[in-house]
Amino acid sequence: MSTLQITDLHVSVGDTPILRGVNLTLNSSEVHALMGPNGSGKSTLAYALAGHPGYTVTQGSVQLDGEEIIELEADQRARKGLYLAFQYPVTIPGVKVADFLRHAVSNVRNPDRKEGGDLISMREYRRELYERMDELSVDRAFARRYLNEGFSGGEKKRMEILQMAMLRPRFAFLDETDSGLDTDAVNVVSEGVAKLAEEQKMGVLIITHHDRLLHYNTPDHTHVMLGGKIVESGGAELAAELYTDGYAGVRDRHPEVAAEADARKAAEPELAGVA
């Protein structure tokens, strides 16, 4: 049983504060939904947890089983079992999926592996990779393709889940994984996430605007973000309410935070893009 504890987290991008005191605790096997309007800071939280160097923690702490991780580089966090499924996965020309992922798996499963150290056995790796690809309906030919190069939006998202399945993280942050997917793909991805959550006791933070992923992965907790803070938390019923009714109700219940957020958005319209 692991715990990821986020306490009073403040994060800036450049000189602009985005997160303004986030508190959230994730435990193994729990599914949390994180919802909120564009620009409220959901992706910023995901990037900050994964250790993006452009997202500066100015205050607060993130502890994994009691160990502070905000000073750690992204790769060290990955080796400790954190995983971010990107909203916009990055293309790496000339790097084959299979080659890249074998290095990643070797490092994450053997966190003390030094550069140039042994990789996991090719036979074992290939068998496992093909098994996971079959489960997630990813064509095996993708193993030899260059990472995300020429992939459709849906293919990229599946590739994120495939990587997650191979890396078996303790905690995963899924940043709008369901957007841009057709219904079949949502089903496959949702089942994949559910299976990992169950088998690996993975804790999941699902960032979404939709209820589609949540339909298969019923959240134990739902959080609503507004203006860089979590303003409400509840159960699965809150996610359903937000999906049906939108955020007007939340804004009404938190008029000060909403007004503040609007003011900042008006001052810096590009904020909607980064956060």
Partner: protein, 487 residues
């Protein structure tokens, strides 16, 4: 021998995800690995330092050459002295031609068995992995140490088919008529200052003749090793691929690391006759005190193909632009070039394609990397002569700059005298993007591994053109260059 290795290796196992290419060998990283040197006091002959008529005549005399070659050398020296130092490309002013040894003979002769090669020299080649490679995947090997070839082999079945693979000095002695027919026909002494220098003091190099219709399945390799400080190496290579014949020639080069400079100035002439095919792959990895000024050119005839695969790592300054002169209809030329400029290094590399006949085609793909203050330049020429109707050329050059201290430039020249042609040129310059690094690192790759992988991916389109063993070598060299570049 692996049956899958041939010249048309587009689908060779090097591209499979279970190939060894991606395995990063556990080598001692950091410094230039080939910087060691042997003792030189046992050498069979050493000229004095400096360049003049006496030295040139002495080289010719040591080699027992016919008078015409001695005269050719002396005329070339006069041309060299007359020509001004080029002021484009890199800085050549610091070369002191009088502070260089132009001829050194380390052993008394060329051997056919490694056991007969003097121990010091044999051990050097063992460290470089040459005897091992020879057994595994080569049809023949020449090993040149300083000025002379010290070891040579060629598979018996190729000898039986009339293939000649020898050092250029022996070729002059043993095949003088064939030699004179082609010598300096592709690159005359007065082509440029450094071809004049090479023509005056040349020694060693490979001479290859592939008879009509003979296909050489496995590559022939030459390995050039400089050992002494202030040494000049001036090998001369001449390859004749007769009609319908096929060859892949590979050369590798290393030198010890010294504080003063060495000079490597080779001339490579190639003739590819009707429907012949020649691929010439270079993996050059000189230490960073070597000036590397090389002239390489091929004459390509009807429906023949010439391919240069040119990997330039190391050296202080490299100026090298392998050329194809497409002289008859249907001739095809291709250059794939990778240049990697590290600290204090300037790689000025590229290609030249001259379309002198109708329906000729050419392709140049150049990938350059610069890091830690290195400078990588692409310099290329595509020339289409009057009457070369229907010719096509495609040039793609991409540069990757690894840090703010490093530099990349592109100098593409196009001269076109014919309207009915298709010329394409694309160029891109990029930096390693923070987003790419973060993406890979968020999967558990260290910063160094992530940059290395981005770099390997950047050159992958070129590396996959190499036979598997060379692809492994190239990736390994790039990794060595990358070591310590970040974080």
């Amino acid at each position: 021998m692996p049956a899958t290795l041939d010249l048309s290796n587009a689908d060779s196992p090097a591209r499979d995800f279970d190939s060894p290419v991606e395995d990063r060998p556990d080598v001692d990283l950091g410094d230039y690995r080939f910087g060691f040197h042997d003792q030189t006091d046992t050498y069979a002959f050493k000229s004095r330092k400096g360049l003049d008529r006496e030295i040139v005549a002495q080289i010719s005399e040591m080699k027992n050459e016919p008078a015409w070659m001695r005269d050719y050398r002396l005329d070339s020296l006069a041309l060299f002295e007359k020509r001004p130092t080029p002021h484009w490309g890199g800085d050549l002013e610091q070369i002191n031609y009088q502070d260089i040894f132009y001829y050194m003979k380390a052993s008394s002769g060329q051997e056919r068995s490694w056991d007969d090669v003097p121990e010091d020299i044999r051990k050097t080649y063992e460290k470089l992995g040459i005897p091992e490679a020879e057994q595994k995947y080569l049809s023949g090997v020449k090993a040149q140490y300083e000025s002379e070839v010290v070891y040579g082999s060629l598979q018996q079945d190729l000898v039986d088919q009339g293939v000649i693979f020898t050092d250029t000095d022996s070729a002059l002695r043993e095949h003088e008529d064939l030699f004179r027919e082609y010598w300096a026909t592709v690159i005359p002494a007065d082509d440029n200052k450094f071809s004049a220098l090479n023509s005056a003091v040349w020694s060693g190099g490979s001479f290859i003749y592939v008879p009509k219709g003979v296909h050489i399945k496995f590559p022939l390799q030459a390995y050039f090793r400089i050992n002494s400080e202030n040494m000049g190496q001036f090998e001369r290579t001449l390859i004749i691929v007769d009609e319908g014949a096929n060859i892949h020639y590979v050369e590798g080069c290393t030198a010890p690391t010294y504080s003063s400079n060495s000079l490597h100035s080779a001339v490579v002439e190639i003739v590819v006759k009707k429907e012949g095919r020649c691929r010439y792959s270079t993996i050059q990895n000189w230490s960073s005190n070597v000036y590397n000024l090389v002239t390489k050119r091929a004459h390509v005839y009807r429906d023949a193909t010439m391919e240069w695969v040119d990997g330039n790592l190391g050296s202080k300054l490299t100026m090298k632009y392998p050329a194809c002169h497409l002289l008859e209809e249907g001739a095809r030329g291709e250059t794939l070039s990778i240049a990697f400029a590290g600290p204090g290094q300037h790689q000025d590399a590229g290609a030249k394609m001259v379309h002198a006949a109708p329906n000729t085609s050419s392709r140049i793909i150049s990938k350059s990397l610069s890091k830690d203050g290195g400078r990588a330049s692409y310099r290329g020429l595509v020339k289409v002569m009057d009457g070369a109707t229907g010719s096509k050329s495609n040039v793609v050059c991409d540069a990757l700059i690894l840090d703010p201290e490093s530099k990349s430039d592109t100098y593409p020249y196009i001269e076109c005298e014919e309207a009915d042609v298709s010329l394409e040129h694309e160029a891109s310059v990029s930096k390693i993007a923070e987003d790419q690094l973060f993406y890979l690192m968020s999967r558990g790759l260290s910063e160094a591994e992530a940059s290395g992988m981005i770099v390997t991916g950047f050159i992958e389109p070129l590396v996959k053109e190499l036979p598997m063993e060379y692809a492994v070598e190239m990736n390994r060299l790039i990794e060595l260059q990358m070591e310590g570049s970040v974080g």
